[in-house]
């Protein structure tokens, strides 16, 4: 892998010429069999500028970024690089041009060390042509500290958390002296703290003259760093607008093509009797410390906290996904922990955070993904009632507004938002007394999010106690009646709807205290 190294001189030059156009796309179109993914799209990326590329799932954002990164070739249109019409032949060619893309899918070699991964394919050599391990360590340490990641360069990648792996990937991209960094939903697996670090870094690089194309759904991130946003919808260019002059409501309207009058659609739902009683719930092998909680019917309780704070373990123990100790009662009846069949039988519906790993049957149809959760209702003495299944699935597709070609279509053909509607729908349809939802809107587009908030409130209105575990504070603030904040395995604070603010929650989640003032602020400038 050869990378065009920008010497300090040319970097300074880039800094001087802040508005230098790095890449200009003109009239890019790309069709795949049966689908027009991009139609006549223009995009101009300048040095020293963070350009947000946004739009709903399926709008063509990733296709466009893959054109720039040389992964696919456009059918028509011009790519002008440094003023000359060019072709980005391949990913390797893109790297030569200094275009580096970081996507959600990690591309590290899991059995190698962090340092080896950062300099994979360009390991420093001694004069004898052997690997210069000493220099490798120094360089890797430098690359990591530049990003503020605390990880040993000797650590084996497979032993790192997903979040750390993502940061190693970013360190690798930055150490290659890229001049255009494409971040394709790069923050989707990062915690708030790591996201804040990344955004700080993006600001630094921007100020040093790098061009950054940021593909994201997350409004706070867009407003934190971007100065211009391009909105795509159904493969067409809708608008390129300056930021922050264009408000969030306008941007969302451009994305979805309609007014989302009330994004969260928060309703006043009167709380009924107490239905869930949790006492001293712990995960013996994990990090959850004794936690107690009561939830009433109709209530929506939010659970906030950083990655590793115990918030997702709390959901997993409640859902029976992992063993736990302590007592859980639903409607006064004790629930046996550690066995999903028992928790389901007791009236708890659990939706895990990792759609692909623990919820979807990716090779099966939409219908089978629905009926997976309905075996007891659809079969008698083990025999399936396929007619009942067809009608139930048909109803559910309509009720939960799942956009699919047919019930028999593979679930893999659906967008993330529609997949999530299937997973939530199959659980809701069982009419559980208690719903435990972990990251119910992770990685899905704005329109689908809004529909899912409505689904949650419908369930609460039908009498379910709803627990929403989420890393996205705005959604917790938007839909929850109260919010618990986990810190190092225990609930450290509880906020009522009225008193909860993003800052207050973040302070508890990050610093472990209401009084300590040094909270991470996603939207602010670096301190």
């Amino acid at each position: 892998m050869t990378v065009v190294m920008l010497d300090p001189g040319s970097r300074a030059e880039a800094l001087r010429d802040r508005s230098a156009v790095i890449v200009q796309l003109e009239g890019i179109s790309k069709s795949f069999p049966g689908v027009r993914a991009l139609g006549n799209v223009d995009l101009t990326i300048r040095a020293g500028e963070v350009h947000a590329l946004t739009g709903e799932n399926g709008s063509g954002k990733s296709t466009l970024s893959r054109v720039i990164a040389g992964l696919i070739q456009p059918d028509t249109g011009k790519i002008i690089i440094d003023g000359r019409e060019s072709v980005v032949e391949s990913p390797a060619h893109a790297l030569d041009l200094g275009f580096v893309m970081i996507s959600q899918e990690l591309t590290l070699a899991p059995t190698l060390t962090v340092a080896e991964n950062i300099f994979l394919g360009r390991l420093p050599r001694t004069r004898l042509g052997l690997v210069d391990w000493a220099r490798l360590e120094v360089d890797a340490t430098k690359a990591l500290s530049r990003l503020g990641v605390h990880v040993s360069p000797h650590a084996i990648v497979s032993e790192l958390s997903v979040e750390l792996r993502q940061e190693v990937e970013i360190a690798r991209a930055l150490s290659s002296n890229a001049r255009l960094l494409i971040l394709d939903e790069a923050t989707s697996s990062l915690s708030e703290a790591a996201t804040a670090r990344l955004l700080n870094l993006v600001r630094q690089e921007r100020d040093a003259g790098m061009a950054i194309l940021m593909i994201t759904h997350r409004m706070p991130e867009i407003y934190a760093v971007a100065s211009v946003a391009t909105v795509l919808r159904d493969g067409r260019l809708i608008a390129t607008v300056p930021l922050p002059e264009t408000g969030e409501a306008d941007l969302v309207r451009l994305m979805v093509g309609r007014e989302i009058s009330d994004f969260y659609g928060k309703r006043e739902i009167p709380a009924g009797e107490k239905v869930l009683e949790v006492r001293d719930l712990c995960s013996p092998l994990g990090i959850l410390k004794p936690t107690s909680l009561d939830v009433r019917r109709g209530e929506i309780v939010g659970v906030a906290g950083l990655v590793g704070s115990g918030k997702s373990e709390f959901g997993m123990v409640l859902g029976g996904a992992i063993p736990g100790t302590g007592s859980v009662k639903v409607d006064g009846r004790p629930v046996r922990l550690g066995d999903p069949r028992r928790t389901i039988g007791a009236g708890i519906g659990y939706v895990p955070d990792d759609r692909k790993a623990s919820a979807l049957l990716l090779v099966r149809s939409v219908a089978e993904n629905f009926s997976l959760a309905w075996a007891d209702r659809l079969s008698r003495a083990g025999i399936l009632n396929t007619r009942l299944e067809r009608s139930e699935v048909g109803d559910a597709i309509k009720r939960y507004r799942v956009a699919t070609a047919s019930a028999g279509a593979s679930i893999a053909t659906l967008s993330g938002g529609n997949q999530q509607k299937v997973i939530l729908g199959r659980t809701f349809r069982r009419k559980p007394d208690v719903l435990v939802l972990s990251e119910p809107t992770r990685g899905i587009d704005v329109g689908a999010k809004s529909e899912i908030y409505r689904m949650l409130q419908d369930a609460a209105q039908d009498g379910a106690a709803v627990i929403v575990i989420s890393s996205e504070l705005p959604e917790l603030l938007g839909i929850c009646d109260r919010i618990l904040v986990f810190f190092e395995g225990a609930v450290l604070a509880e906020f009522d709807r009225g008193e909860a603010t993003e800052e207050a929650i973040a302070q508890v989640a990050v610093a472990g205290s209401r009084r300590q003032p040094q909270a991470k602020d996603l939207s602010g400038e670096p301190q």
Partner: protein, 346 residues
Amino acid sequence: MTVTHLEKRDTVGRHSPRSSVIGRIFQNRYAGALISLVLVGAFLAVTQPVFLTWPNLMNIVKSNSVVFILALGATYVVISGAVDLSVASATAASAMVLGLLLLAGMPAPLAVVVAVLFGALLGAINGTLVSYFKISFFVVTLGTLSVFQSFALIVNDGASVSVFSTAGFKPINAFVNGSLGPFPKILVFDLVLLLLAGGILRYTAFGRALYAIGANPEAARLNGIDVRKVMLAVFIIAGLMAGLGSVVQVGRLTSASAEVDPTLLLTVLAAVLIGGTAFTGGEGGVFGTMIGVLFLGVIQNGLTLSGVSSFWQGMVSGLILIMAVWLGGLRQLLRRRRLSDTSKQH
């Protein structure tokens, strides 16, 4: 709201256009095997006049019955995401049990039931180790492959058991080699098994659980499927089929062989994979497996009719296996690429 859904549908619903009959056949997982079967069959029909005669076709059916019965069980195992490497050894072990019981004068129905249950017991051993001791299916069945094989040798000191002259052999012979009009009884039996196996996959909660576990065991578990029990059942079914297969094998050979048929395991797994059941689990079915068995059987028959030395048959079926799975993988790759091109644009 409706408008945006319709717009989305255009981008999402890109699977529907091919709805012609031929298009649908091409989309099936066993399409490649079916087309190859037709082509090879047509070629043999032209070049070998004997091929298309009724006795020859029925001979193909009869000589592949053991493979077919085992392959039905193996299809279940592969759909659930596992593999049972011990089926051929379990067949030999059950066959020896059957042979010795017949030799000891046990009446045929009882001996058959005991042999079949013995096969199921061997399957239960596999299933228990996999499900409740949480040992990898690969390790377990590789181990029992050797254990069951050894068992078959130990019980009669390495000697085969000729059952031809036993009283119990007559009814077994009548069943395995007899005919109902123009149809071999075994063909009827195979078809009944096929319908039963296919029906269970399609119309029972157990069948659905099998696909779900193969597709995503954690999702299956979190939605209330007792994964361990289902996996135990799957291995018991595979063992049960080995027991049934052993009865047919003894009937055809007129003796119980202490040696494991060296090509049996490969042929069974090859038939399942050629029939479009994915090694990665969660996809496939028994109809494809039937096509796979027929395809391998027709190839073998063609080689025999053409006078090719039987030494070549292993080479041909091995190469066909690799090619079929390669083509299947290619198909999947193409499909994935189309999918990712369209649905990953977020």
